[in-house]
Amino acid sequence: MTAAVNAKARAARAKKTRQFVTPEGVDLELRIAGAGLRFGALLVDLLLILAALILFSLFMLWVGIASQSDVAVVVWMLGAFVLRTFWFIGFELGSRAATPGKRLMGIRVVARDGGRLTADAVVARNLIRELELFLPLMMLGVGAAEDTVSGWTMLAGVLWSLTLSLFLLFNRDRMRMGDLIAGTWVVMAERAKLDADIAVDAAGEAMIFTDAELSVYGIFELQELERVLRHRDARAMREVADTIRAKIGRPVAEEDDVFLLSYYRQLKARLERGLLFGKRREDKYASD
């Protein structure tokens, strides 16, 4: 039952990764960013644009009143246009190829063929955004403004334009219409901090487990254990320690963290030795 669930999760993860071989011959395995992250990034960007626009408007209003000239209006209109059209383009042309919203979500734009992300691709993907964002709104606006358009027609229009806007939900690569046309992908680019190596902790030798005791778990369980150890949440550790103790039949004798660290270290050593011999035990359901 859970074996199937694990296998399914792994398959889902594999479906999200794309082969991406560098000239050095290493497969970097880009992971496609999910729709939720994309939407979150868009929302953050729109909020930032709105905030910038409000500040800019207030400033220009002040300038306009102070100088009594309508040049302020011109600057305001141009500024708003530039802000709206070039916010995404400008940021994505930078070295991190991501708007502030995308940075926050840990995603970035890359060229689908693994080459350089060129300026024209960035421009193309962002001009299409204009359509994706505003067509549904425009449909609503037109429908509301003209009484001649019946509610059903309006609904059909909005639905039709939504299928364009939500295009990324309908393909495996989570490509927007703009990504499709510009030849780009949005992939995960989170920065993982190099965490301390918990396997060299002094506490690791406190207890010795037998091979039989270590053979009950696989890689999936090992990495879950690593996660628990890194978070250092006492309750989670107690729960996990109790589960393991029950499984291998050990009495509650030591502190949870000492027990878990020792077990983690020895399990890791055992599984890594297996790796060296070409044996990869994915989870506890796989044969040892």
Partner: protein
């Protein structure tokens, strides 16, 4: 020959072969690479000394090699995640090195922009014909029966310029009558408004291209319709020449830009329908890049058109001069785009 020193005694406990020692040996490299990347991202290549720049590819390859080893031997998820992220960051910074901003700008104006426009010449002709067809259709319809006018041009846009208006009123809208100089203080606002509005229409007509180009063609046809209907109204009152001049001064630039934006959209549409030997996605991506370049140019052209319309047209009221400026602009664009040049083959 001195025999090589015996290898240092291995720690007797097998577990510590391992990834911990591997990590201890290489960790310094990763951290150094991380620091360099961070500085490169923040300050660009100028933030690094030449020594550090030389170090960069070495550290990059060392990190990639560490990643390969770690994948095969280590089960430390935090370590793997860090190396993956570091390698991806490094790859994009090292292989994504682009020219300086100034060079890129120069190349865009000297070759890329005209080359992109040249490469969509077929689509440009098609769109130009569509606009012309729209204009001719509405012109002939409105000429034969002025009632048609109200179907083509909505009241807000017409603002009184319809078949019932007197010749004097129409004359005044062209900037020849007594109130010609009235709106002068608002000129730049008007120009700016026209620019932003037209840009958005063009972006739309480009963006609609992927739907096999059909909406793009409809939009351009509609633009032609409005034009022809107006033309018919003015021509009926014997003001055809003046209206031509009023339109021509900025219209050559603006309509050219409109045709190009339509052509860019159509290029994407045709690439999706007729991808040729390539896959549909690939063809769309290639077309999208060309179209993207054209679109930057279109926005620049519209900026010029907005200036001509807002300032030029209101300040220059002589019809012949208007024609001359319009023709000059057209000539300028045509020669910029289509005169063959060295190295322009790409």
């Amino acid at each position: 020959m001195i025999p090589p020193p015996p290898p240092p005694p291995r720690a007797c406990d097998a577990p510590s072969f391992s990834t911990s020692r591997f990590r201890a040996e290489r960790e310094a490299d990763w951290l150094a690479f991380d620091r360099l990347l961070t500085r490169l991202e923040k300050k660009g290549a100028k933030g690094l000394s030449s020594d550090e720049l030389l170090q960069l590819p070495i550290l990059y390859r060392a990190t990639l090699s560490s990643l390969s080893i770690a994948r095969a031997t280590s089960l430390d998820k935090a370590l793997l995640a860090h190396l993956e992220a570091l390698s991806i960051r490094g790859y994009f910074l090292i292989y994504g090195v682009r020219e300086s901003r100034w060079n890129r700008l120069r190349r865009f104006f000297l070759t890329d922009w005209p080359a992109a426009v040249r490469s969509v010449w077929k689509e440009t002709i098609v769109i130009a014909l569509i606009i012309l067809l729209g204009a001719l259709t509405s012109y002939s319809l409105v000429s034969s029966n002025p009632e048609w006018y109200y179907n083509f041009v909505d009241e807000g846009m017409a603002s009184g310029r319809d078949p019932r208006a007197s010749a004097e009123y129409l004359q005044s809208t062209l900037g020849h009558g007594k109130d010609a100089g009235e709106g002068e203080s608002g000129l730049h606002i008007f120009a700016t408004y026209l620019f932003t509005h037209n840009s958005r229409v063009s972006i739309l007509s480009f963006a609609l291209g992927f739907a096999f180009g059909v909406p793009t063609m409809m939009l351009e046809f509609y633009q032609g319709i409005g034009l022809g209907a107006m033309m018919a109204v003015f021509a009926a009152k014997g003001l055809g020449g003046d209206f031509g001049g009023w339109l021509f001064i900025h219209g050559t630039t603006e309509l050219f830009a409109a045709a190009l934006s339509g052509a860019a959209g159509l290029r994407i549409g045709t690439a999706v329908v007729f991808p040729g030997a390539r896959g549909r996605l690939e063809a769309a991506a290639a077309a999208g890049r060309t179209a993207g370049k054209v679109m930057i140019g279109v926005i620049l052209m519209l900026l010029a058109a907005g200036l001509l319309e807002g300032f030029g047209r209101q300040l220059v009221t002589d019809t012949m001069l208007r024609y001359a400026i319009g023709a000059l602009m057209l000539l300028l664009w045509l020669s910029y785009y289509y005169i063959p040049r060295r190295g322009g083959a790409a």
